[in-house]
Symmetry: C2
Subunit: 466 residues, 2 copies
């Protein structure tokens, strides 16, 4: 079924696991001819997949120097740049698309190479908060639609949050219409008593080959994961929080919706919960949604912030990636010489990706997607469970952008969540919602005294693993 | 080749991976008839292995109540109790053996069930320091030999330390005879400038089946590992250390050679180094050798301690065990419902187990055993690389005890290291020594400021991962 027709040129930048996974979805659900599509990639990965679909493929790494020369001839007004690359500045691409009048979508606000780990930058400057701030600075005035960070997360999870809020309202007898603007959604979250939101993910995909010493293994982009894992841990900072962590810092610019910790997210663990996994430790990896959701659900009265939830990622990647992070930390973040993106060798597992809304009258509510490797393979070629959750969201964002071509620079939270979910959900496996009486105080202090706040389970202090 | 003859009765208590692995070694290297041996086990594991060797096997879980009734008829003067069980008090067994006049050896000072995690005990009371103290309290006066904690580690590594000291002396031009007593060995360590000793182990054994969610997988006793992992982290506390860690505590009894941290060792990571793995993070799991080696190498002058090295375990278990610990921590130390001791399913890997002596004039020196799964299987049936390092040491300790039957209660450090190593080394694969310029300051503070002591790399503060 075609959701929408697109008559312009589509340039896909980057053709790793997400590019390869989304191409069949684009051709299946957008009325477009393969001849309209050009893939530009920094390397040869996926060249065979492009050929399989009759799509032109060029190896052409983008740099500051050649960006305009490469893209200006390939993009005009009404064309579409889908950026699924790493190491190309999203802000530079968005600026160019606005100048040209082309649509734009990415899954991450990328810096130029080394931007995540440039020791000449402060942790604040290397944060997603700063990257988001620089992208939103382009949002002034009308312009072609540029959808920021619209993969699974960031992206899809913003729509999960809205659906979860509506579900909690329904299940707790709170009478509400579907809010129609930011203020309405923020008021609903506040009225429901949501204190914290985790992006709570447990990826159980395993392969039939073991990770080797000196090898980083993951179910999606290793460069992408290591890049964000070496950025400072970041979280939207809720109004219920009693004290900034000792290593927590506020930024001296921007919306002030989030803080960062003076350490990499890949070495920072938090307690979370998913319906299938139960209580787990996840990594507090920085993500755009930690800032954007916290910002979106901020309530102000007379200019003063009166409500905001704490928002952060709590990511349990696939087991081989947990081991890879452990090894990488032991190497003081010096990348392993070998990398392997797990795909054909996966033999079982589910990516359980959802949002965990905490502090409302029913305690904890997880809402999200459970997609198994078998389901993913049955649905779309060239995907695993992790990539399909991303590529379905990319498709949803593209459809929305084509339908709303003059929305300017927007984040997932500003999109029509129902429309995007309608496009994506056929590819998300089982959508599940589950309440729980879990709190991060469960089982604490049994063997050793721990510093916990017994008065408010939802303090970040209780969630953090020290 | 038979190292020694034994004419008494041998009771083997416990028949898990170590019991099953050591039985063929005993029959190969001690002149003993299978009819002299009785296995008492709490469960049926290994019954087939006992039958294979014609050794009697009884399922008879030992408790406080039946200990005397079971053992008194089975042990007389000159007989030998080899304790390879869990959940039977080593101190109770040693006391009984001394009363009877029987030899004794174990690989761990075990408490009665629940002793490692009894919340009514203080962390100090649940420590290996306390268990060791209670065992050494039996050491007063002559008596039959009781060899405490003589597996790979604790046990074998104490002999590695002595050999490593002699090697460093040789390689740094320090002229020394082989010391003949504790004071001599301690003076040698001091004179060489050894500030810290890690038991630095990297187990790379992997299997052809992946760990499942809710499953604890390890290459040796899961009960044993989880028990010690939930005890407080403990370390021998060197005289060069400038400050007690904020969560560090001294005991108010005993030799004062070690401290403990107010947290489980399985959640406490330290930086270490092995020749094959390079820089890694290991777990600061408490072990008897952390206390015994620190105590043994203490130099006193006029009653005051003038030298002691910091000593601790830095354990990187097999990858599936790293994942199991991560999952267990997420469950707040509530044991996974499934356990699997990896044996036949291992397809590759090496247990690289050694001692890392730090602070001498050549910096760092690792000395130890590299034993691959293939080597282990080729050498002795019913072993993997990890178990064979233990069982070879048990054999060495048994031979020494039979040769020295009236030594009383002794620790590995008090044994003749050359004799034990001569017995064990044919089963340790490649014995390797390697110098390195590694320090725990390597690669630090690159992305984020870290609190390190640049003046003395060997401060525990630098080693600990926070």
């Amino acid at each position: 079924m075609k959701h929408v027709a697109f008559r312009g040129r589509l340039v896909m930048l980057g053709f790793g696991s997400i590019g390869q996974g989304v191409l069949p979805l684009i051709l299946r659900h957008i009325d477009i001819d393969p001849g309209q599509i050009t893939i530009l990639s920094g390397d040869a990965r996926g060249q065979d997949v492009a050929a399989e679909y009759g799509v032109s493929f060029a190896i052409l790494p983008l740099t500051r120097a050649n960006l305009r020369d490469v893209l200006v001839p390939r993009l005009g007004p009404g064309d579409f740049l889908v950026n699924l690359s790493v190491d190309v500045s999203s802000v530079a691409l968005i600026a160019l698309c606005r100048e040209i009048g082309a649509l734009y979508l990415d899954t991450c606000i990328e810096p130029w190479p080394g931007g995540y780990t440039d020791p000449s930058l402060t942790p604040s400057q290397r944060s997603n908060y700063a990257l988001r701030d620089s992208a939103l600075a382009l949002a002034q005035g009308a312009g072609p639609t540029a959808v920021l960070t619209h993969g699974a997360n960031p992206g899809l999870v913003s729509h999960f949050v809205k659906q979860a809020l509506l579900n909690i309202a329904r299940d707790t007898g709170v009478d509400t219409a579907v809010p129609t603007n930011r203020e309405g959604w923020a008021a609903l979250a506040r009225d429901l008593g949501v204190k914290a939101i985790h992006i709570a993910e447990r990826d159980t995909q395993t392969a039939n080959v073991a990770k080797q010493p000196g090898e980083f293994v993951n179910t999606w982009s290793i460069d992408g994961f290591v890049g964000e894992g070496c950025q400072p841990a970041e979280l939207g900072w809720g109004t219920h929080e009693k004290a900034l962590p000792a290593d927590g810092r506020r930024h001296d610019f921007g919306c002030d919706a989030a803080i960062y910790l003076m350490r990499p997210g890949a070495s920072t663990r938090v307690r979370t919960w998913t319906p299938l996994a139960g209580p787990i430790h996840g990594f507090l990896i920085t993500h755009n949604e930690s800032v954007s959701i916290a910002d979106y659900y901020t309530v102000r009265q007379d200019g003063a912030v009166t409500y905001r939830p704490t928002v952060h990622y709590a990511y349990h990647p696939c087991d081989d990636a947990v081991l890879s992070v452990h090894e990488l930390a032991g190497r003081n973040w010096d990348m392993q010489p070998q990398q392997r993106l797990m795909m054909q060798e996966i033999v079982s597992g589910i990516d359980e990706l959802g949002v965990l809304l905490l502090g409302h009258s029913k305690g904890a509510y997880w809402y999200g997607s459970r997609l198994s490797i078998e389901q993913a393979r049955g649905l779309v070629p060239h995907n695993n469970a992790t990539s399909l959750q991303v590529t379905a969201a990319v498709l949803g964002g593209m459809v929305w952008a084509i339908e709303n071509p003059r929305a300017g620079v927007v984040e997932a939270d500003q999109l029509d969540h129902a429309r995007v979910l309608a496009v994506a959900e056929p590819y998300l496996g089982d959508m599940a919602g589950a309440y729980s009486d879990w709190t991060p105080l469960e089982g604490r202090g049994r063997l050793f005294p721990e510093e916990v706040d017994m008065d408010d389970p939802w303090q970040f202090q209780n969630v953090r693993v020290v």
